[in-house]
Symmetry: none
Subunit: 318 residues, 2 copies
Amino acid sequence: MTLGRFTPETTRLDDAARAGWLYYVAGNTQDEIARKLGVSRQSAQRLVSLAMSEKLVKVRIDHPIAACMDLSSGLIERFGLRFCEVVPSDPDAPDLLTGVAIAAATELEHRLKLPEPQIIALGTGRALKACVEQLPRMSCPQHRIVSLLGNMMADGSATPYNATIRMADRVGAQHYPYPLPVLARDCEELRLLQGQEAVRHTLELCGRADLTLVGIGQMGRSAPLYVDGFISDAEMDILEAAGATGEITSWIYDAQGLKIDTDFNSRVASAPLPEASERDVIAVAVGQVKVPAIRAALAGNLINGLVTNETTAILLLG
Amino acid sequence: MTLGRFTPETTRLDDAARAGWLYYVAGNTQDEIARKLGVSRQSAQRLVSLAMSEKLVKVRIDHPIAACMDLSSGLIERFGLRFCEVVPSDPDAPDLLTGVAIAAATELEHRLKLPEPQIIALGTGRALKACVEQLPRMSCPQHRIVSLLGNMMADGSATPYNATIRMADRVGAQHYPYPLPVLARDCEELRLLQGQEAVRHTLELCGRADLTLVGIGQMGRSAPLYVDGFISDAEMDILEAAGATGEITSWIYDAQGLKIDTDFNSRVASAPLPEASERDVIAVAVGQVKVPAIRAALAGNLINGLVTNETTAILLLG
DNA sequence: TTGCTGAGCGAACATTTGCCCATGCGTTAA
DNA sequence: TTAACGCATGGGCAAATGTTCGCTCAGCAA
């Protein structure tokens, strides 16, 4: 029974979903769909591809591919992980996020289906955003989604990689955005900001999250923190000289996975890195360029779960 | 690092899964997959279709419409329907007629656009009236609209739910109101009335209608027949004791969809229940309170098409 | 009214996919 | 040893799908 609004956009997406269903679920040809929906063949095609591009169509492969299983058990053993999922790589697109996003979303969905209330803490970044986009719509008012860090860029605008709001919207859970910018101006300001009641509450939630899902950032000129303007050229040089190897929720760590002692880290407003020994902390990360950062995070037990792909897994074990 | 078994079957399914992944997740063409897996294009195609036939590939559509399509194919299969349309429900107004009305009107419109002359027979009721109101104005002089029953209330006044006149007016078709009251005083009078030439002609039209569109009435104190004063308190008790479960064009049937043998049915002046095996007979019905009546109509093959909403469909399949 | 613009449509064309069939290779039974 | 059989393979073709391009039409400003 249709609700009040009959915007063209709504009906168009409805039709797209219908066409997608008829195509992918019912196995109709586009000609048949065209006939059933009373449109031309081309329009049916457009609807089907709209369903695709709007990500209404979710495909997953339900088979443990032996090579990936080997890699994941290798990673679990080598780094003492609780959870590890390795998905196939496309040799021509080894950094494609879709595969890991689907795998991580499947794990998330699994957690969300639990009747017991869960606290799920999220970082930011392309990888997490891709994960959240793979989540189906559901209704989980018993859970809480909390952000581990703010998403304000240097100029005051918001980064487009905020996963929390989108996820809470999709799964119908209560959510807690992180009420601070990514970086404070200095330690003094940071202490001031963290004194706020709302901040303390959010931090407390982050601390007892049942599942923490984060991305991993590399250093260098391709670093997310550099690209998004949180780290200047000069500062990046200093950081790399100090051994900076990777970053999780903006906390920069060295090759041993230890938080390095720099001005930058002293201004990071994010929630503290979670204690990965007690809670589930799963990272989603893919790509050759991230390998040192991932390896360091594994070495330092910053995480105890990993979702990655075949090529990255091979490099991590190599 | 090897797993236990490496039967040809296992590796073949592995390859199928990989091919399916490259195809559906990474979006490669079968040529690319062939190159990447080092097999011929045809073999790649076989792997992809194997992944499909082995159901390694799970597709789902993430849109409310998808749930409706699942429900409608469920209803078609369970009850052997020719036609079924399930529209989304508004959780806050599960009995709202607008949605089903639009859906049924769309189907009607589809029929009306046929160049071949159609006979369309209509029942009465709120649902049908709502359908007709959703019809656009058009000009279809080639078709004929005929009423399946009268709309005279006990006191001689007309019920407000007459759909035929309004529809004929909207679509510019010839129309045939039903020239009798809903109920005769007794069998004798009924026989007399049905002897009239006009009545016989109308009945004949009803009998060969290409499409029959009806509502479904529940029993009990909320029954349309009770509310509109066609059934008294005492009679309703008798009917329910006799197993009355629902009603289509005033013909009352039991839980198996069989017309029950009572005084009431012997006085019903409506056209006979259509032979749903030969013609299209579509019911429009929504609401928890109507579920037993709809289920009985489906069980007894009184109808072979259904337009309903999500919540009702779930109850019917539950 | 006229002209502009952008969305949507469908014809035509290019690409991809699905399927049948002839071929060849290995295996088995006579 | 050889004929027969099973079966994976790739050629080739028809169907299905994706894309481009020019057209129309509604909406809108001059």
